[in-house]
Symmetry: C2
Subunit: 704 residues, 2 copies
């Protein structure tokens, strides 16, 4: 791993392109250096002005009194590489390039410029952050080499690391000033020092307790995997908003930061494996940042929530949204119900969600007692206060914030093990003072309910994540088999057998004598198929005979197959006849492996036929996998119930299937540099204890 | 229909329980009457105080100088019915009861009180709004008999009618003061005058151009259907937030307003038929209210949007969200691209979504030109400005609102046929002045993007709604067959035949002679089944023989079936053997009808087997239906591709299937008061031109 110490903690910094022109990178960065003050020695470089903000300038790096630890560049793209070389010659190894116009620019020569920059980095062993970035805000050491607007406060508390391929979304995460921020990092295109390396550095700081990333793609997959594993080991929640999921979004990502967006399904599978919280939009992303920062590790014990509302409409809507997003709302304990009912004799009954009605919400003592009762209920692990908490004047004759807020805060203090969440029903102005007070009591304010409950679902998935059921290893290809070819069915199965995966007996025979010998060895019934590297679709060519029951039938089939195939494809090399034992029918499963050039081999599993083709009811798991992952993947299929006994059939041997999945994943890992893809379609799964059978297999691979 | 004129437009009003105690219904209502001023003659009734807010009071209705058109009641539940009787005796027919403690209260005697109230209403022919409501705000005639907080402005513009089963959500809709409001109506429990009747009255006002309802359930389904049809005919967008969709939500709805929530799938089907905009949450609901009010009928011509962003991250996320919610983002016309590229030579390229980059967003003229170019592009029907538009200070040296807002407004004015939408990326304070300016230019500000794009999907469905493809008739049962029984397969099919639906030839035979006659008439192959009112699961009982090919086989089958069934169920009445022509196999379809006690018969269609049972891939349509609805329903199935030719099979006869669906729906309508449910499972569908065949049928019905 690169040593990024001087990027984050330089002793001396030179800013090339320092400027006092409002709105320019050079001006923002200059102001940040002034703000950082005597934490480091700063030099402004500008050839046209003698002074910037009252500070003397230098004409170039050569003129500086020392070799700076870090050089910041805010000049037009065409000038950047020359300036880097100059500074590298002087001895600087660390750079931040704010300037745009590189790989993200598809019309000009940006991609060439960025390649040149990478070559320079290799030649001089440089760490270059950017280009096309906003730089680094290091609030731990109170050093800002940030090059954009925002003017972040170097005296705020620490805690979260926020990074992003978008400067705007990085700033969105940094803007939430109720969140303690250790690092804000915008690494831009990241082709030399990648966002994942910058994140890894941030997570190495023991003070970092939350990682938030906006990610358009990945530059160094190995680093990403190591980073995610580190977060699991250190129990640091990792929130990653992955964009570029759609076709147009991927195009946009490529032109924004030159990132290959990759298939989101693959990323999603990696995120599942490592317990990454993966929001679907910006509001959920920022919401998770707030929630996880406020909770500070105090997650609900399990998915058992009580919801408290001020009105019946809120209660009805909250119940609907909670169910849609999989939150459990247990019935309240009888003692809790009795105690609450006693407080509101004229109105509703104590249910979950609880409509407080005027009876409770209008009396601060009863309000406080209600929260206390819910937090003490043995059926409840967390409370959602699902009402608006705003600063709009309400004609009630009292301060709504204090009236509703104080009892909630008191409950949080008395019951630190029962997390509390504030869930507004719709967008509101949120009173900053009260947001702060609630946050200090560990109570996050969620986004509007439609996103807020979705966020809670993401949080529950994180709560339920169990690394013991995951095999946290990875297999990133060192090189990718661009030119790969399909093996024949026989060769594919031989590969599987060699990897210890059982397949039915098979043999290629060249003539009738060979056929007779194999028939004698295998017994009947048999399957005969054409064996030819040139015929992939054997059935179409008339190249398959099932259920062959005797030697006479086998001999007739031998002749028929060769005749049909010769007629179908006169040029094809017919190398013999593949003879296999015929398997008894079972439930059809499809296993596949797609080797992702970045993320490595992914195992796909689904039920055969329409399940995969019409309903896309499949699951992906990054290889290698363990048996628990295989079983969890099967359980997550909509069609899983067909494996557990459907319409009176017996339960299937899912253990044997899981074992096969593990073996296939290990084969894929062992072949990560040559395997392009493989299909095992179908696998027959038999009833419990009867195992599985690989019927057909197709491996596409390159040379070792 | 009830004449609700005096509820909305009384000349004289008495408020029983008028009060000056802050926060009470009686106080809110008193203030509203004072605000309404000399639009009507108001009387305050209070037995303990001589004056309320300086106005003299009366001890009771009898003491008033005239019989009031409308009586408002804000006293405890137990007193209400007596007061109603008193006023009814005096001659009043119209009431609003604000008080709670009626059917929504499941612990006390609220339900009895409400029944009593309904009996009073029937006895005296009263129109009672409520109980448990906030009343009526009539901004058209500037009359407010509203009984809750809010203090709405009687001088605001008119246009929308906002109603709700929740006072809170009704007020949420009324609170948006940039929306012209004709009526705000909270009808509470609505068991006497229902919310749907109040909405119907509002829609009869030719000035009403938008209807928004928060709906927990329905009291008078006929009125709902008529209301929705009226909205279609008058092209009034009807936005309905239906809650109580979940199990807990339905319980909450029952205790909130005493509403039967019903199955949301049924409501959803009704909404689809009538083009109702059906949001999934409160923020989307209010957002649709804003959008439809601002657009004022100017919908995009079709689903072809251009998205404009300020940054690359926004563009990537916008593309992802647009794709997730089905918005089309066409490529820009080459001339548009060229003109935009010319303006930003150093940066990105003109794509859709468009990342303006600093090159465009920093120059107001270029910004204006960009919007103008997009609005003029022949591929584009609407523009989404997907950037934040907030009042937070940004260090740019200019007024961000004017800088970004003026060009957008100019574009809206120049291109009135190209609707513009402002889509913030995440929750922001929205500057009220600018919101107003944008609204005046017909430009709505959407909720945060994750909800905003979802809202646009709802809007696109509305744009694409075509009443010509719907049969806008309804069939609400006048009475419901509580005690219904299953007909035998034979009787079920005879019913279908009598309704003109073709079924294979069938006959029940009692003996061998009868069997021989039928075999002679029908030919072979045949199916023989037990005919018994006591055996529903015929296969289990050994009561089915398929593919009977000769008279001898038929005779053997006859004996075998009777023997098996006698052994299986010795008590069963074995009334004969059902003989049917055996149909050739086709694609299996399931048709069903579920007669909803409120909404009437609903036709269900899906592909047989796992499609329905595992994937719930079905569609519901309210009966009666037309062929276009049948075809659209089939197309909306995930498994539709199996009907169009899958894996080399020929396309199915969907026309014949659609015709059958229409016939079944008409049978259901004709039997709406006796049919409970029916299943036609399976129907075989053959290839194009070959028709369909009803294999099995089960009808559950009561007595005529």
């Amino acid at each position: 791993m690169a040593n990024l110490e001087k990027l984050f903690r330089p002793r001396s910094v030179a800013l090339i392109g320092a400027s006092d022109r409002t709105g320019s990178f050079g001006c923002y960065a200059a102001k940040e250096l002034l703000k950082t003050g005597n934490k480091l020695r700063s030099y402004f470089i500008n050839q046209r002005k003698a002074e910037i903000f009252g500070v003397r300038t230098y004409p170039d790096v050569a003129a500086l009194p020392e070799c700076p630890d870090l050089v910041l560049i805010a000049t037009p793209a065409a000038t950047v590489n020359g300036l880097i070389r100059e500074a590298a010659e002087r001895g600087t190894r660390d750079f931040i390039v704010y300037s745009s116009g590189f790989a993200e620019d598809h019309r000009c020569h940006g991609a060439e410029l960025e390649k040149e920059m990478a070559a320079l980095a290799a030649q001089y062993d440089l760490h270059i952050v950017g280009p096309n970035c906003c730089g680094i805000f290091n609030n731990v050491d109170k050093i800002s080499v940030w090059g954009s607007n925002g003017d972040y406060d170097l005296s705020r508390p620490t805690g979260a690391a926020v990074l992003g391929h978008s400067g705007g979304y990085t700033m969105g995460g940094m803007d939430r000033d109720w969140i303690g921020l250790s690092y804000g990092v915008s690494g831009g295109n990241g082709s030399i020092v990648s966002q994942e390396e910058l994140a890894d550095y941030c997570v190495d700081d023991p003070g970092t307790r939350l990682l938030c990333m906006y990610m358009e793609g990945v530059k160094k997959p190995d680093v990403v995997y190591r980073l995610l594993k580190k977060c699991v080991d250190r129990k640091i929640p990792c929130v990653t908003l992955k964009s570029g999921r759609s076709q147009k979004g991927a195009i946009s990502a490529a032109s924004h930061t030159g990132n290959l967006a990759g298939s989101y399904e693959m990323f999603r599978a990696v995120f599942d494996k490592y317990g990454v919280l993966s929001p679907d939009g910006v509001e959920e992303y920022y919401g998770l940042e707030s929630v996880l920062y406020s909770l500070n590790g105090r997650l609900p014990r399990s998915n058992r929530f009580a919801i408290v509302c001020r009105s019946g409409g809120e209660a009805t809507m909250s119940a609907d949204l909670a169910e849609r997003y999989g939150l459990n709302l247990p019935d309240l304990d009888q003692a809790t119900k009795d105690a609450i009912n006693e407080m509101m004799p004229d109105f509703g009954t104590a249910k979950n969600p609880l409509d407080m009605t005027a009876g409770l919400r209008g009396d601060q003592d009863k309000l406080a007692r209600t929260f206390d009762l819910l937090a003490s209920d043995p059926n409840i692990d967390a409370i959602i206060a699902a009402f608006d908490f705003n600063d709009e004047a309400v004609d009630t004759g009292y301060d709504m914030h204090a009236f509703m807020g104080d009892p909630v805060i008191a409950c949080a203090k008395k019951h630190p093990d029962i997390p509390l969440f504030m869930m507004p029903q719709y967008e509101q102005r949120r009173d900053p003072t009260w947001r702060k007070r609630l946050n200090e009591a560990g109570i996050p304010i969620l986004p509007p309910a439609e996103i807020g409950y979705k966020l809670m679902q993401t949080l529950v998935h994180y709560m339920e994540y169990d690394p013991a059921r995951k095999r946290l290893e990875w297999a990133v290809p060192e090189r990718y088999p661009e030119h790969a070819a399909a093996l024949t069915e026989f060769d594919s199965k031989q590969e599987l057998m060699a990897a210890g995966i059982p397949v039915p007996k098979q043999q290629v025979v060249k003539d009738k004598a060979g056929l007779a010998a194999v028939c004698g060895e295998f017994g009947f019934p048999l399957v005969l198929k054409i064996h030819s590297p040139d015929i992939l679709h054997k059935t179409e060519a008339g190249g398959v005979r099932l259920n062959v029951g005797s030697l006479a039938e086998a001999e007739a089939a031998f002749d028929n197959i060769l005749e049909s195939c010769r007629a179908f494809a006169p040029q094809a090399r017919l190398e013999g006849i593949l003879v296999q034992q015929m398997a008894k029918p079972g439930l059809e499963i499809i296993l596949g492996v797609k080797n992702d050039r970045q993320l490595g081999p992914m195992l796909l599993v689904g039920l055969g036929g329409v399940f995969v083709e019409v309903f896309r009811d499949t699951k992906l798991i990054p290889c290698p996998i363990c048996e628990a992952e295989a079983l969890d993947a099967l359980k997550s299929l909509q069609s899983y119930r067909l494996l557990t006994g459907y319409r009176g059939s017996k339960p299937c041997d899912v253990q044997a299937l899981a074992k096969l999945m593990v073996q296939v994943s290990e084969y894929a890992v062992a072949n990560k540099n040559v395997l392009k893809e493989m299909d095992i379609n179908p696998v027959y799964v038999y009833e419990e204890g009867q195992g599985v059978c690989v019927l057909d297999a197709l491996i596409v691979k390159g040379k070792k």
